[in-house]
Symmetry: C2
Subunit: 376 residues, 2 copies
C-alpha cells in the first residue's frame, strides 16, 4: 500500500497512483508504471461561456496535457501496473488511436511488448506516429474499431497477454481520478460535466469518481484526496454525453454497423460500456445527444481561436452538445457551472487543421513585404 | 502584486504568474494571460541512465506537456501579460514553429492579433497546424529563421505591436521558472542540466533561475517558492548546451549563414542570446558541444522506446550531448544527478517518426490473422 504521506500536497506530483493509490482498487501499486499522468489544468473559458452558456461559468478540463496527449493515460497507468503485477509480458488493445499511443508508451515504460489494432485508414496521423515512436507493433486490420475490439476480446486469457482496452476494469480505476481532480480544482461539484462518448468508458469512470467522492470514499480530510467538495449537499453533477451523429448507437438505441464521423476518436458503433454509460446518464438526471460533424468542428475551432486551447475534433463534442442543449432550451445555464472535458490534444491530428482551409501566406524576406502581408 | 497566499501548495495550480508572480520582474501580473503553463513532470529514466550515465541518476524535464506542447509557453505567459498591460493590439514573432504556436495561443487567449514569420519549408507540420488552429496569421518568408528575426527586430517600436521573441526580456522571466521547478521537484540542485541550444534563450533563462534560487531571491521559506534546495552549499548546477552539428554557431565561434539540421527547432545560425549563453556555460563550469543529426535521432528514438517519453527530435540534443560527453570522458557520471530538458512534445512532428522507417503491419479482421502478425 501507498504511504499515507504520498498525498501531502507539498510533495512533488508523481502520477495518479502515487497521489491517489490508496483509493484505487488495483494490484501492484507498490511498483507503479507511471509517466506522471493526470494533474491536468482546469481552465476557465469566459469568452466561450458568453457564447454558449450566457450567465453561467464554463471550464475546460484539458486532458490533452497527459503524457501521450489524451485522457487514456489515466487508465493506462493503472491497467499497466496491474498487468505487470500479474506477470504480463505483452499487452494488446484495439484503438482509434489514443489508446494505441497510450498503451505503447506505458508498455515501453514497463519494458514489455505492445500490439495495437487500428481500423485501416481511419486513424489520425499524429496518433499513429505516437504508437510507432514508442516501439509498438501497429497492426491495421481490414475492419472497424469494433472489429478490433471483438478480436482483442477473443484473445483475453492467452497466457502472458493482457488486454488493456477499457473493458479492463483497472482502466476505470485510473480514469475516475479525473472526476476527483475536477472537484479538487473547483472546490465543489460542477452542475454539469459534458464530454464526448465513444466507447463509453470515460463517462462511466467520471460517474464512478463523482459517486465515490460524494460518499467520502476517497480518503481523509488531511490529504486533499477527500474534503474536496465544499458543499456536497448540492448533489452530484449531471452528465451530458455527446455522440457524433454518424456514430450514435446510444442515442439510436442500437449498434451502428458502419459508424461515420470525421471525429475519428469517437467513430465507434458498438460501445463496450454502453449500458453503464446509459445508467450513469439516467442516474445523474443527465442528457444524451447527437451532434453533427459540423457542430463538432465549429466548437473545435472556437475553443482554439477564442480561448487558445487546442483539442482534437472529437474532444469538442462535449462543448457542441452543451451548446445544442442550451439552444434547444433543455439546459438553463444561468448561475450554473459547467465543465467540458477536452479528451485529447489537437497536435495529435494536424490534418484536421490543414484540411480545414487555414492558409499560409508568403512574403519576401524584407520588412516592407512582411508588413504588406500583415496589413493585407 | 500577487497575494502571498497564491503559492500555498494546497491551492489548485493556475499557471506560472499565479504561482511565482511575486518573483517575476514583469508588469501586469494582476491580470495574467495564462493557459496554466508550467508544472511539468520531472521523470526519472533509469533505463536510459544505465545506458548513458552508468552509476548516475537521470531525469527528464518533460516540457512537451506545456499547453501548446513546448517550453515556449513559460516565456509567453509573461511576455503576453506584459504586452497586453502595455496596450499591445497585436504581437509578432519569428519562429521555427514552437514560438509560433505558443504566441498564437496566448494571443488568442488575450483576444489580440498574432502574426508569425516562419522559414519557408523548414517547419514541422504539427507546429504549423497549431499556429493556424489558434487563428494566427502565418507568413512563410523566403529566408531562414535568422532572416525572420532580423525583420521582427526592425518592426520593434511600431505602435501597438509587441515582439514576443526571446529578445523580449519578459520571456526569460517566465522561462527561468523551469529552473525553480526542477529544484522544487528534486529538492536539490542537479549536478548537470543538459539542453539543446538554438536561439539560446532557454539556457540563459535556466542560469538566471538557478542563480536566483541560490541567492534566495525567489520568495520565502513558507511558500515553497524558496527553501527548495536542501543543500545549496553544494553549488550551482553545471550547464551542458548541445547544438546540432550543422547549426553550431556557438561551438564554431561565428554565425552560420546556412544552418542545416533535421532538428528543425534548433536550425538557427545566429542566436539572439549567444553571448549570454556562452557566459552562462563558462560561469557554470559547463560544457558546450555539437551533436550530429544521427546522434540526435538515436537519442530521440531511445527515450521513447526505452522510457515511454516522446519528444521532438531537437529536444533530444541534450541527451545526445550528455552521452557524447560521458563517452569522451569529459563527464564522470558516477554518483551524479543529471536533468535533461525535453523542450517539446514529439506529437508536434509526426513526419519525423513516419519518415524514420517505422512500419504499419496489415491483417484481415480475424483472430488468427492478427495472432500470426503479432508472432511474425
Amino acid at each position: 500500500m501507498m504511504n499515507p504521506q504520498s498525498c501531502t500536497p507539498s510533495e512533488p506530483y508523481r502520477g495518479l497512483i502515487h497521489r491517489y493509490g490508496f483509493r484505487l482498487d488495483i494490484e501492484g501499486k507498490e511498483s507503479p508504471i507511471t509517466l506522471h499522468e493526470g494533474n491536468t489544468p482546469l481552465i476557465e473559458t469566459p469568452r466561450l461561456a458568453d457564447r454558449i452558456v450566457p450567465g453561467g461559468r464554463l471550464f475546460v478540463k484539458y486532458e490533452g496535457l497527459n503524457p501521450t496527449g489524451s485522457f487514456k493515460d489515466r487508465g493506462m497507468t493503472t491497467a499497466m501496473t496491474q498487468a505487470v503485477h500479474e506477470g504480463a509480458k505483452a499487452v494488446i488493445c484495439a484503438s482509434t488511436g489514443n489508446t494505441a499511443a497510450s498503451a505503447a508508451a506505458y508498455a515501453a515504460r514497463a519494458g514489455i511488448t505492445c500490439a495495437v489494432l487500428i481500423p485501416n485508414g481511419n486513424v489520425a496521423l499524429g496518433k499513429l506516429a505516437g504508437a510507432l515512436a514508442y516501439g509498438a507493433k501497429v497492426i491495421a486490420i481490414d475492419g472497424s474499431f469494433d472489429d478490433g475490439l471483438r478480436i482483442v476480446r477473443e484473445l483475453e486469457g492467452v497466457s502472458g497477454l493482457a488486454v488493456v482496452n477499457s473493458v479492463n476494469p483497472a482502466r476505470l480505476q485510473g480514469q475516475k481520478t479525473a472526476a476527483w481532480e475536477v472537484c479538487d480544482q473547483l472546490g465543489d461539484f460542477p452542475d454539469w460535466l459534458c464530454l464526448p462518448v465513444g466507447n463509453a468508458g470515460n463517462i462511466s469512470a467520471y460517474w464512478m469518481g463523482f459517486q465515490e467522492c460524494q460518499a467520502g470514499k476517497c480518503g481523509g480530510l488531511d490529504c486533499q484526496a477527500c474534503g474536496r467538495v465544499r458543499a456536497p449537499e448540492r448533489g452530484l453533477p449531471r452528465l451530458l454525453g455527446a455522440q457524433a451523429a454518424g456514430a450514435a448507437p446510444l442515442v439510436l438505441g442500437h449498434p451502428v454497423a458502419k459508424p461515420e464521423t470525421k471525429a475519428t476518436a469517437i467513430r465507434i458503433g458498438n460501445p463496450a460500456r454502453g449500458d453503464q454509460a446509459l445508467r450513469a446518464i439516467a442516474e445523474s438526471n443527465g442528457h444524451l445527444c447527437a451532434v453533427t460533424d459540423e457542430e463538432i468542428f465549429q466548437a473545435y475551432g472556437k475553443v482554439a481561436k477564442a480561448e487558445g486551447v487546442f483539442c482534437e475534433p472529437s474532444s469538442a463534442a462535449g462543448i457542441a452538445g452543451l451548446r445544442q442543449a442550451v439552444k434547444e432550451g433543455k439546459i438553463d445555464p444561468k448561475g450554473k457551472t459547467f465543465v467540458c472535458v477536452l479528451t485529447g490534444h489537437g497536435m495529435k491530428d494536424p490534418d484536421s487543421v490543414l484540411s480545414s482551409g487555414a492558409q499560409i501566406h508568403k512574403a519576401a524576406a524584407d520588412m516592407a513585404s512582411v508588413l504588406k502581408e500583415i496589413e493585407r
